[in-house]
């Protein structure tokens, strides 16, 4: 039998246990319950365990940075795959959040307990207002304009020599202790991950997806597209600004590098690798990419080449990402059948 002539396709069927565990039948047996809870438990337990099993201070610091990127990737994924706004300006959110937190801390003497929430909300409001004129844009136009925002922000700071200019703002208070530092951001990642996942399944999430798929129908239903887009941008910007504010207190310094392209590109790479549209995928992607980049630190700029190539390979060959692949294997049987 010649395999190449034979037409085959992969048939996929949901596992029985998946169907059973989707509703009240989940309570049927421990097996169904554990099928539901195992992935969540691995995620939550794993994240909470991480700081404890890390061998050194250095790697604990890496975990904090991973979490920052995870938050950004989450915000990108939410905005791009649930609202249809592809924002390449993650650095803009980080920059806004970090500068606000830095100013609040150095000029007003507020402690991190206050600066982080204020920077989150105020920063999100500022980002939303600044992005408001671009909200009618779609696709590649929105992507380019958001890519330009952090660059412009950095150039303006440089040219006007405001906000510390090229030196940045120094002498910012750090967290009380390193356990608080670690668990604060891990808790935030978990809360925001499950929060956004819940949000996109609410009514408003339905509208968000409608904005993405067919904005004219949203408008025809008497709802303002721009209003919903601005809410979504506010949520995404809040997540980004939170990460930025945390970053400032972690490094005790805010400067132009918070507007660097890393914060725009790496989260997107994490999203592509982790699986776009899954929300948990981007977090996973960040947990894969950032440590790799740390391990490659010795190679200098070669590591950027490295993960540009990884990103490229994923875009071309595995555009679904790890998480979508994993979910499929977990939920479905696969077999080849003749056509």
């Amino acid at each position: 039998m010649n395999a190449s002539k034979e037409q085959r396709r992969k048939e996929r069927l949901d596992r029985g246990i998946k169907v059973r565990s989707e509703s009240i039948y989940a309570l049927m047996s421990w097996r169904e319950l554990s099928y539901l809870f195992l992935p969540r438990f691995v995620l939550i337990g794993g994240l909470l365990m991480l700081p404890l099993v890390m061998p050194s201070m250095y790697w604990q610091r890496v975990i904090s940075i991973v979490c920052i990127y995870a938050l950004l990737a989450l915000s990108f994924d939410f905005l791009a795959h649930y609202v249809g706004l592809v924002s390449l300006g993650g650095a803009f959110f980080i920059g806004t959040g970090s500068y606000i937190a830095a100013i609040l801390n150095t000029s007003f003497g507020l402690s991190p307990i206050f600066t982080i929430p204020i920077a989150t909300l105020l920063g999100a409001a500022i980002c939303t207002v600044l992005l408001l004129p671009c909200l009618p844009l779609r696709g590649v136009y929105f992507a380019i304009v958001t890519l330009m925002y952090p660059l412009l922000f950095a150039r303006v700071i440089e040219a006007l020599d405001i906000l510390g200019g090229t030196d940045g703002i120094m002498g910012i208070e750090s967290f009380a202790n390193r356990w608080m530092e670690q668990y604060f951001i891990i808790a935030m990642v978990l809360i925001l991950l499950f929060g956004t996942r819940r949000l996109v399944n609410q009514d408003i999430g339905l509208v968000f997806r409608a904005v993405k798929d067919n904005d004219q129908s949203v408008r025809a239903s008497g709802m303002s597209v721009t209003y919903y887009k601005s809410i979504a941008v506010f949520i995404a910007a809040a997540i980004g600004c939170l990460a930025g504010a945390y970053l400032v207190h972690l490094y005790m310094w805010a400067g132009l590098s918070t507007l660097a392209l890393d914060f725009s590109i790496l989260p997107i790479a994490a999203t592509v690798i982790g699986g776009s549209g899954t929300l948990v995928g981007p977090v996973l992607g960040a947990f894969i990419l950032v440590p790799i980049s740390e391990l490659l630190r010795a190679f200098g700029t070669l590591r950027i080449v490295f993960y540009a190539l990884i990103l490229l390979a994923f875009i071309i060959f595995r555009s679904e990402g790890i998480m979508v692949y994993g979910q499929r294997k977990y939920h479905q049987f696969e077999k080849w059948i003749k056509v």
């Binding site: 009618p136 992507a143 303006v156 040219a159 080449v305 071309i316």
Partner: protein, 311 residues
């Protein structure tokens, strides 16, 4: 990973700010700067116009061709003109290969296109940086040394040559797209890809050709403009931003718009350098992008329908 460096000055505009009363100086250097911007942007505009691919690797191709020329001249000791031609052909082939092996698989998926071309650009630029191409040691010789005076303003020959070559390129492009079969096919693709396919134009081949020609244009811009300054990796990012700025202001996909926008941004930049300071040069380009996108996303001469790009 610091991907944007401090050397954020377009190579053609490295001159000391002049006093405000020198109108001739503004005119002459504004023209030179505008032509330089047009040279940056034409390749990008061509690729986008024909195949709707935003080629974010444009800046990387620009820098690559500079380094290829440098290698041919200084390491292999080839004739300068020959190395320039070889570098242009080489960069064209690189562009075509990028299309053939990467972009052809993801055409039509906008975000993947941006991500993939950006990743390629990043890989090339940071690879060059890692390969030791950094610092101020890499320079190309000027085609003709020396300078002259026009209406009391001293201009070196290389800058005059930039204007001449720029004009020649625009003229050649116009002739190419109006009187050759492949040029007409490219225009047909740009106007309506499906109709072009029905008339027997191979869409993938034309997109491949566009990417090749676009990369050659980037290379041409590089070999003409790089003798004015050093070959630095950071230039790749600047060139990309400037090319995008010009193309967006002119309207993505419109070549005439790109040339016109190059003059608008070029003069705006020179005026800001004269009256505000060199720091604001990049701010002008970035602001131009943002303002144009907000007010009229299709740009001055955009071919896209308004409805497609905004709600």
């Amino acid at each position: 990973m610091r991907v944007e460096g401090a050397a954020f000055v377009a190579p053609s505009t490295r001159f000391t700010p002049v006093s405000p009363d020198h109108t001739m100086q503004i005119l002459i250097y504004g023209t030179i700067n505008s032509v330089a911007l047009a040279l940056f942007a034409l390749g990008f505009a061509m690729v986008y116009g024909v195949s709707r691919l935003p080629n974010f690797a444009h800046g990387a191709l620009y820098v690559t061709s500079g380094f290829i020329t440098w290698t041919f001249v200084n390491t292999l000791k080839l004739n300068y003109l020959l190395s320039i031609l070889l570098a242009m052909v080489g960069t064209g082939i690189i562009g075509a290969l990028i299309y053939q092996f990467v972009l052809i698989r993801i055409r039509g998926m906008e975000i993947s296109e941006i991500m993939a071309t950006y990743a390629i650009g990043l890989a090339i630029l940071e690879g060059l940086r890692w390969g030791g191409f950094r610092g101020l040691t890499y320079t190309l010789p000027a085609f003709i040394e020396g300078s002259t005076e026009i209406a009391g303003v001293s201009v070196d020959y290389q800058r005059l040559l930039v204007v001449g070559i720029g004009a020649a390129v625009v003229a050649a492009l116009w002739l190419f797209t109006h009187y050759t079969r492949i040029g007409l096919a490219l225009r047909g693709m740009a106007q309506d890809e499906r109709a072009a396919m029905m008339l027997g134009i191979d869409s993938d081949l034309m997109a491949l050709a566009a990417m090749g020609f676009g990369s050659m244009l980037a290379a041409l811009g590089a070999v003409v403009l790089l003798p004015l300054g050093n070959i630095v990796v950071e230039a790749g990012y600047n060139v990309l931003i400037l090319a995008i700025a010009v193309c967006i202001v002119g309207g993505l996909g419109s070549w005439i718009g790109a040339v016109l926008a190059a003059f608008i941004i070029g003069f705006a930049q020179i005026l800001t350098v004269v009256y505000l300071g060199a720091h604001y040069q990049m701010v002008v380009a970035l602001l131009a992008i943002i303002i144009t996108l907000i007010l009229k996303p299709s740009g001055l001469f955009g071919l896209q329908k308004e409805l497609e790009e905004r709600v």
